[in-house]
Amino acid sequence: MRAPARRPARWRPAGYLFLLPALSVLVLFFLAAMAVLLSFSFERFVGGRFLPGTTTGNFTTFLGGHYYWNVIATTVKLGAVTTLLCALIGYPTAYALNAIRRPLVRNLCYFALFAPLLTSVIVRSYGWSLLLGDHGFINQVLLSLHTVRTPVPMLYEFSGVVIALVHILLPFMVFPVVSVLGQLDPVLELASADLGASRLQTFLRVTLPLTVQGLVVGCELVFALSISAFATPSLLGGGRVQVLPALIYNEVGGLNWPLAAVESYALLVLALAVIGIFTLLLRGPVARSRGAT
């Protein structure tokens, strides 16, 4: 499905050559690290100390405890909700960014999207706590307007985590979509309009199908990042939102590296599985959107 139409097949073997730089970096660092992690996963950590010999106990502990399955559920749920919201907000944003022509406005928008990425997660969350907190800005407004009697708990809840994640991951949705929107030939939108399609119809029937690739990329990025996010859930989840990465973080601190390793691999498998399914589902549309080639 991926080799574009009308491309001489003869350079195919070169594929590996092109992968060389990327793979060497990964092997040099990432795979090596993952190997170490794997070796950890078989070590015996009992009563707060490492014992000689190896075990598969860490795996059984993890897969056995239904607590872990709850955590996995929360993790996936968090990832799914965040990704969905990012897509819903991010695509229109990208579309608008692509449509406006006044450079100043566009630059300011890019800046707005970009700025949060420059503030460390600690500082950001601290901004959120002042916004969403029980005594935060929003609640104070609500109270002063007598719309509510007691503060609405937004912070230290699932909702708070989602808001913060969407906030910081939105650029990872917008930028890929914008980049693909830029490759769309505007005359197609004109043709659609000419054939009687309203803006919305044109969007749904031409623009979206032809830029679905950007959306897919955005979703992959956002999902991967949101299910592996540690700081935001633990800072804004107030302990109520227990996700795998936070668990892993604690295990590392608590010296229980074997379990941390197992959990890391679990998360990796989980994410790859979800993304795999996701791309499988979208194979059709994406392939079609490539008729362009």
């Binding site: 574009p4 566009r106 901004g127 490759q183």
Partner: protein, 279 residues
């Protein structure tokens, strides 16, 4: 688009901008807080945290270090990522799916775990604490962003233009560089920007990989936060944000039209649906 049409787009952008900037605004306001703890509204205002920041000399070094690491890693990731994308999109070869997954992995495995393992690794091969290891590490960590974004855009590049270039005598490589890359302009910028900030913001793994003696900016901030709990970091963040805004404005000036946006905008004057006037 009808005027109502772009009123809607305007609203979307406005809303998003507010949403994105609100917490930042709070942070900025809070950096002028007179008390060390965050409270809304701040009990009083002062510059003490900026003063304090100016005394934290090590932040400057850390910032430079982060910039260097970020720049190098981004450059490496872009090159390696573009080549990898080419392989994934343009060639058919066994094991592609696996490699695809492998290229995504560093983005998924929690950084803490990677960092922990990496530390062990580095110590074992006696390279712990060197800057280049950090660069390679960051390259690996941001590679997924480059690959995903670039290959996504590469899917939509029209090969007939490259064929035309080759017909005119350009080698496939040359044709790609001179004809395909320009079509990938936006994607490359997007990849670069996102990769860089990810590297520039990376703390979970770096904290294990850098020697405490010469930390990167995020690690330095993490350390500071361990020591003192006050809005000095808010002040630092404010300065960072202000700096980028300044940069954006400068680009706006020097590029005449629209700095960053220019790089990612559709070719100027390209037809858009009539009525799609400026927002």
């Amino acid at each position: 688009m009808t005027s109502s049409g772009h009123r809607v787009l305007g609203l979307v952008l406005g809303a998003v901008a507010v949403f994105m900037l609100a917490p930042i605004a709070i942070v900025v306001v809070n950096s002028f807080n007179s008390v060390p703890y965050g409270a809304w509204p701040p009990p009083g205002y002062s510059l003490r945290w900026y003063v304090n920041l100016s005394q934290q000399t090590d932040f400057a070094d850390a910032a430079v270090r982060s910039l260097v690491v970020g720049a190098v890693a981004t450059a490496l990731a872009l090159v390696a990522g573009t080549l990898a994308s080419l392989a994934l999109i343009r060639f058919r070869f066994p094991g592609k799916a696996a490699i695809n997954g492998l290229l995504l992995a560093p983005m998924i495995v929690p950084r803490v775990a990677i960092g922990m393992a990496a530390f062990t690794l580095f110590v074992r091969v006696h390279v712990y604490g060197t800057l280049w290891t950090l660069m390679i590490a960051h390259t690996a960590l941001i590679l997924p962003f480059a690959v995903t974004i670039i290959s996504g855009a590469l899917l939509r590049v029209r090969p007939e233009l490259e064929q035309a270039a080759q017909d005119l005598g350009a080698s496939p490589a040359r044709a790609f560089l001179t004809v395909a890359l320009p079509q990938l302009r936006r994607a490359l910028v997007a990849a670069a920007v996102l990769s860089f900030v990810v590297s520039f913001d990376e703390v979970d793994a770096s904290i294990f990989m850098v020697s405490q003696a010469d930390p990167t900016l995020p690690v330095a901030m993490y350390n500071y936060m361990q020591k003192y709990q006050d809005p000095t970091l808010a002040a630092l963040s404010t300065i960072l944000v202000a700096a980028t805004l300044l940069l954006a404005v400068l680009l706006l000036r020097s590029f005449g039209v629209s700095g960053f946006a220019e790089m990612v905008e559709r070719p100027r004057g390209q037809p858009v649906i009539p009525g799609e006037a400026d927002v």
